[in-house]
Symmetry: C2
Subunit: 379 residues, 2 copies
């Protein structure tokens, strides 16, 4: 039976799993005895092993970035607009690796995995991870795949932080870094939003101190609220206005607290509820903590240029005008530090109404600029 | 024993209560059989009864706007910087009335009052109110105080909406309207933040469908989360950055989910917890609904200028540059509509870093501009 995937799709993909038996020391002082990572690859690794690209995912992302897991999967991977034959991350040229981060809930070892020490799910006992920890775990994945050096490490949002950290932790192993809709650290407001999301989860009676799996429960309300707050920060005020305005669900107002009056309310509730059924609460906490903690310049008293002094990679930094989660000003901090450190950096500020979510969307000038940068990479 | 209040304070004030025995018909189609309003007054009503000013409060406000309830009250009323002898709302000139809105939780009839029909607290059975309902209830307060026409109706945020609605509902009864940090209606993003706050309260198991008082419980977690979200929107990103930056609570990171790592987290948790002990959850829901529903232009197919065509009051509209809850652009919508309707309007955009909260704060240019407008009012 023929399957009809779009001509510019990577087509059918099968996730793979690698097990790492050597303990991984973590920033917190703790360590993981062993772990597994689930990942997908698109395109072919060339003989020189010089065309590999790593995709780092954002807060709620995973390894399934492009293509389809089956012929009847309704939607392709989360970054399918950007990965595929002829797309900015061109799989005719590049061998693309996309993983689910350690601590995730899509197949890599994380809080919902079984803790070998207890035979029960880790839950809240899973160690808190940092962006640096992720990069180290990803370096082992590169080793296992025989990739000495990435042609590029690429990510949006929290993924951009990982891409940047690669150039700091492993300067010899990255030729290009593409950091999209990202920031060199969170602002107080960013941390504040994360804290609201965390408190929503932590105070949900069904969170059970992080051991809800053992109780056969899910902190659904907490996750729903966390996602609702998140969603507001992913969209621009204008994008929300254009999408929903003050559109009413029905002709007349209900004048009660439970009815959905405005379309934006039902959108948020739907997003929140859907998310709460598929995402792990401990992973959500862990991801927000990794965001909060990330501050590579702290090692040099806040001087990001000094932190980036040893970087060997060229950079492409991309931001979006209406992104208020990580505004263009935050991307410019990275650009300015790179410039001060005399590194090669290309900066693209895209006029787009979609807010932070723009990094996931097909936007002509973004696609062109991103493509153009990727095409110039020598493999 | 002498009490030493500041020389520009209205000094000791005593809240008063008025009972209204006539039923109040509401926008929802329901009605309140009777109700009481608690209010304070500052200054003296002149013989012509032409110097009365009404203060309308915002989401979590109340009647205690200026002065002190006792000699040992630590902080004066919430708008003490703007009300008093020699201050912008000069009590040497004006007779100032400040009330707790119907549906409130500071002494006026609201969800925590006893429902005469059942002998139990109203709780969730208290009717949902609109800005228009409040204005009608305030008009009865004016009647009872013998005030035929307000020299000015003044409010910030949700209070500004009430001030504007006064000029629409009772054009003959308002000479001046001062609408500060306000908007002619909520945006989709504004509604979205309200919806998160409501869901936090509604999904708290201790909310008990709004009848938590009968259960002897409080939806503390829900109120805490609602207030935390609110607080983020009251402060500008810059103000938060300046106040907290990425300041740590202790020298080293804890790498867990429960510890407070950053100062902004402890600030938010404190604000949330403090609020949850003093504010009624049903009132909070009610206030956010009143905000969502307010849209005076809807009666004229979105044409605010037409809605304001019958207005007789002069307007002073004030906004703050870093306010992102109700940005200057939202105030300018009011100004533009007034201009299109050929009304007398003065607009003041204040350069202030504090965000939405700026309307409560002593800021020199704001004080001067506000003072100057108030001084020109003839009484």
């Amino acid at each position: 039976m023929p399957t009809a995937f779009p001509h510019d799709s990577v087509g059918l993909v099968t996730p793979q799993v690698l097990h790492f038996a050597e303990p991984l020391a973590l920033a917190s002082g703790r360590s993981l005895a062993d772990y597994q990572l689930v990942y997908e690859t698109y395109g072919q690794l060339n003989a020189a092993r010089s065309n590999a690209v790593l995709i780092c995912h954002a807060l709620s992302g995973h390894h399934h970035a492009a293509g389809y897991h089956s012929a009847d999967e309704r939607k392709p991977g989360w970054w399918d607009s950007y990965i595929g034959p002829g797309k900015p991350i061109d799989t005719n040229k590049f061998f693309v690796v996309s993983l689910n981060n350690l601590g995730g809930c899509n197949g890599s070892t994380g809080p919902s995995s079984i803790n070998p020490a207890t035979g029960k799910p880790f839950g809240a006992d899973f160690p808190v991870l940092t962006v640096e920890d992720w990069v180290h775990s990803q370096a082992r994945l590169a080793d296992a795949l025989g990739i000495e050096q990435w042609a590029a490490v690429i990510g949006g949002s929290l993924g951009g932080m990982q891409a940047m950290q690669w150039t700091i932790s492993y300067p010899e192993r990255v030729r290009h870094c593409v950091a999209i809709a990202s920031a060199p650290k969170l602002s107080a407001q960013n941390i504040a939003f994360n804290e609201v999301a965390r408190q929503a989860i932590l105070t949900d009676p069904q969170f059970h101190g992080g051991h809800f799996q053992e109780q056969g429960e899910i902190p659904k309300r907490g996750l729903m609220l966390a996602r609702m707050v998140g969603h507001i920060t992913y969209l621009s005020d204008d994008a929300m206005g254009e999408k929903f305005g003050r559109g009413l669900k029905s002709d007349k107002l209900n004048y009660d607290f439970h009815s959905v009056e405005f379309q934006v309310e039902s959108y948020l509730r739907y997003q929140g509820e859907e998310f709460s059924t598929r995402f792990d609460a401990n992973t959500y906490l862990l991801m927000t903590k990794a965001l909060d903690y990330y501050d590579p310049a702290a090692a040099h008293h806040g001087d990001l240029a000094k932190t980036l002094a040893g970087v060997k990679a060229d950079f492409c930094v991309i931001s979006f005008t209406t992104d208020w989660r990580f505004s263009p000003a935050r991307s410019r901090e990275i650009v300015d530090a790179l410039t001060a450190a005399r590194k090669n950096v290309c900066y693209l500020e895209i006029d787009a109404p979609q807010g932070h979510d723009a990094f996931l969307m097909p936007i002509a000038r973004y696609q062109q600029g991103f493509s153009s940068y990727m095409q110039r990479i020598k493999v």
